[in-house]
Subunit: 138 residues, 2 copies
Amino acid sequence: MAMDGHSVVTSWLARGNLRPTRQRLALATLLVGDGENRHVTAESLYAMSTATGDRVSLATVYNTLRAFVEAGLINEVVVDGARSYFDTRMDDHPHFYWEDSHTLTDAPAEEVVISGLPAAPEGMQVSRVDVVIRLRRA
Amino acid sequence: MAMDGHSVVTSWLARGNLRPTRQRLALATLLVGDGENRHVTAESLYAMSTATGDRVSLATVYNTLRAFVEAGLINEVVVDGARSYFDTRMDDHPHFYWEDSHTLTDAPAEEVVISGLPAAPEGMQVSRVDVVIRLRRA
DNA sequence: CTATGTGCAAATCTTTTGCAGGCTA
DNA sequence: TAGCCTGCAAAAGATTTGCACATAG
């Protein structure tokens, strides 16, 4: 029998060694409660929590997203100098960035391959390779 | 006979239909005066201009960099949510982002190829593909 | 009980903007 | 001269932080 939404979220937080407080459970449920990949900004997640009636302050949304990133539960994606996007999908994959609506989505192709990637310089290691395909109205 | 630094900068500005004011000449000289590719932030360019004795206000540095981008003379690269980087090299090429020093440099490999790039969705066109190789201390 | 987590407002940081005066064409 | 530029200070937007109170383990 599959775990219900609550235990999924609870164990997700546990994996990051984060205490299951009311606010974290609410935000985590919005992020990964249904198993879908999601891309949010602090503001958009705050709006979602407000819409569902969960009372979480904006500062806590910021702090919580940062905590999730530090715990390795979500990834921060930089595509727009103005704001940060957070992605619940953890593997290295390319993104579409819709310039007109400032929206981030997963690029559908699984076959994207980057070849000839330069080796990391002496004493350094590749932390991540970000590939952002910027889209504008044709 | 080759053009001297001054005419290089002057014609560079002219290509963007920008009037050669004292401030723009100073900043453009720092950026492309010697033909080298450069990566700067508004703050770092401001520091450079201060160091060379050129008096340019920080607001003007911001406005000027923005004007150069709009004129198609330089590119803006997003790698760090906190600040914008500007690159004097105009072709599409991958970057190294040194996470510990917050520095941006060109990735040395010319052979980087991205294959299997997904087609742009209906009604959209690819504006640019950003590839950022993030480095951290090994 | 003790270490964490939360909320609020204030602080910080980067970038933009309004406006009066200056300068290029 | 007309329109574009510049500088300054103030504004704006995103994110962080200080501190007192609340809560998980």
